[in-house]
Amino acid sequence: MAGYLAIRLFSLVPVIFGVSVAVFLLLKLVPGDLAVALLGPEAGPNELEELRHQLGLDQPMIVQYWIWLQKAVVGDLGYSLQQRIPVQELLSARFQNTLILTLASLAISITLGLVAGVLSATRPRSLLDRFVMLGALFGNSMPAFWLGILLIVLFAVQLGWLPSGGMFSVREGPSLGGLLKHLILPSLTLGLISAGMVARLTRSAMLESLGQDFVRTARSKGLAEYVVIWKHTLKNASLPIVTIIGTQFGFLLGGAVLTETVFAWPGVGLLMYAAIGSRDLPVIQGGILSIAVAFTSVNLFVDIIYGFLDPRIRYGK
């Protein structure tokens, strides 16, 4: 297991290097002078020169990258052009909110997708199966921001049951009940869309598993059908399901940017949306980097779970 872990970790090195170069270039390739952006158009040439020197902008690109990387590793992502405070401070306050939304959506997506996928695999071509597959196709074709808007129109504007945006009620202040109430619509938006993809993959993985000999054996030795389905078959179908959950996590992190914008959920996505409006590049860069790092970590975690679930992968290569 230790060897497997080491190989997985090592294989990440070129990817992380590539990601860091891409994110670094993001800020470098944008036309415009960072020093002018920070000091404003009235700044004198000496002031600008000094700031450029301070920021290392007069250095060669590779040196700049190295300096940036050293800072980024310890979380120093520069200053927001708009708010004049460290990007890291802005992000750390928001990141946990994005994580709350993502995890809640993931919970909805897995629960709904797994149950729907297993049920439709056990009754292929039934009415239920057709309904689930159609729902999955709908989810796959649904823009998250549109579903969010529909839910707002229905549940917040028309029915008035749930708040249309934000994380806490302004009048009542932060409370767990308020948080949950505000969480329902955004997490449902992302969760429903993602559940479709989980359901489809669970179904096909289950169908593949159900065709194998051990299922016949389990049935013929008299095991209850629900044990055969939910224990034996699902366990054997778990590998592709774990994969899809990993990719869904990434999808949800990316989708959170859009959903947070629709629901004014104060996460990294909403921060980035505001930054896009004011062209606050360090914040956009920091947001992308933090989500890419989270995504890569999840993928690594999924790989590790693989090794536990299927020893063949561990010993294979």
Partner: protein
């Protein structure tokens, strides 16, 4: 056009026995296409919808009832069904139907252009990587890994931020995120074909490498590429709309489905149709592309049929 293409098995590991229900009696491709795409009511309806939307976009200058940019504050936020304005008007009195028709020119062009460019670049990269292997393969795959290390919409946001607003830049931003799909597909096909007898035979009679790639390897994956191009176009319609929605890529007042939805959000409480109708169009077009794509996949590749 695809009738003479040999059907390629998919590249995934189908190591388990195919259940009897999946076993499809060998039919000609033409008959399968007819059965899966034309006779299937869902796929057929989807095909019709796509044709209507495409024709509406192409002939927008002729069929649109009004100028999509004509502001008329006297008829602001009219609901759908208003005489003369079937789908109502937006916050500055522009006819929504006209804007949708014109918007199709932008939204569809962005998605289709992105897929076409990604198809060309991706197929090129995949052929190189899969056929030559070794160092070239390694470099190309590592670059694709980096692209895939970002949730795709995030990478598009990053690229669109660097490039700035505009249709061309929106196309470029979403092209990058769909290239890996085609490159990986092509690489897998090229790798599996590389060692087959007919490629060896072509080599033995002195065919050059480019000739082998273009005449022998590429035609063997045309059907898979058509399927994925259709499905990816759907994903790109949403990706382009997402960029417009976030204020990147295509900018108002340009008639674009995503941009229309974004500006319509401001009047969500008083006139929800302004934001929801463009969203419905994006959803319907994507759904139709997915339906047609899956029907094509079932027709071209019987082993992948969804039970």
């Amino acid at each position: 056009m695809v009738n003479n293409v040999e059907v390629k098995p998919r590249m995934e590991n189908h190591n388990t026995a195919i259940p009897p229900t999946r076993r499809i009696v060998d039919r000609t491709l033409r008959r399968r296409l007819r059965k899966r795409v034309i006779s299937d009511p869902f796929a057929f309806a989807a095909l019709i919808l796509l044709m209507v939307v495409t024709l509406g976009a192409i002939f927008a200058p002729l069929v649109a009832p009004y100028d999509p940019y004509a502001v008329n504050n006297a008829i602001r936020l009219k609901p759908p069904g208003t005489p003369g304005y079937i789908l109502g008007t937006d916050e500055i009195g522009r006819d929504i139907l006209s804007r949708l028709l014109w918007g199709g020119r932008v939204s569809l062009r962005v998605a289709i252009m992105a897929v076409v460019i990604a198809l060309i670049v991706g197929v090129g990269l995949g052929l190189l990587a899969g056929f030559f292997g070794g160092f070239i393969d390694h470099i190309i795959m590592r670059i694709l890994d980096v692209v895939l290390a970002f949730p795709y919409i995030l990478l598009a946001i990053g690229i669109a931020t660097v490039l700035g607003p505009g249709i061309t830049n929106a196309i470029l931003a979403i092209t990058v995120i769909t290239i890996p799909v085609f490159a990986r597909l092509m690489r897998a096909t090229a790798m599996s074909i590389r060692e087959q007898d007919f490629v060896q035979a072509a080599r033995a009679v002195g065919a050059s490498t480019p000739r082998i790639l273009i005449r022998h390897v590429l035609p063997n994956s045309v059907s898979v590429l058509i399927v994925y191009a259709t499905l990816e176009t759907g994903r790109m319609v949403i990706a382009a709309a997402s960029l417009s929605f976030l204020g990147l890529g295509i900018q108002p007042p340009e008639a674009d489905w995503g941009a229309m939805l974004a500006t319509g959000r401001a009047s969500l409480t008083i006139a929800p149709h302004v934001a929801t109708i463009p969203g419905l169009v994006i959803f319907a077009v994507t759904l139709a592309l997915n339906l047609v794509g899956e029907a094509l996949r079932d027709a071209l590749d019987p082993r992948s049929i969804n039970l």
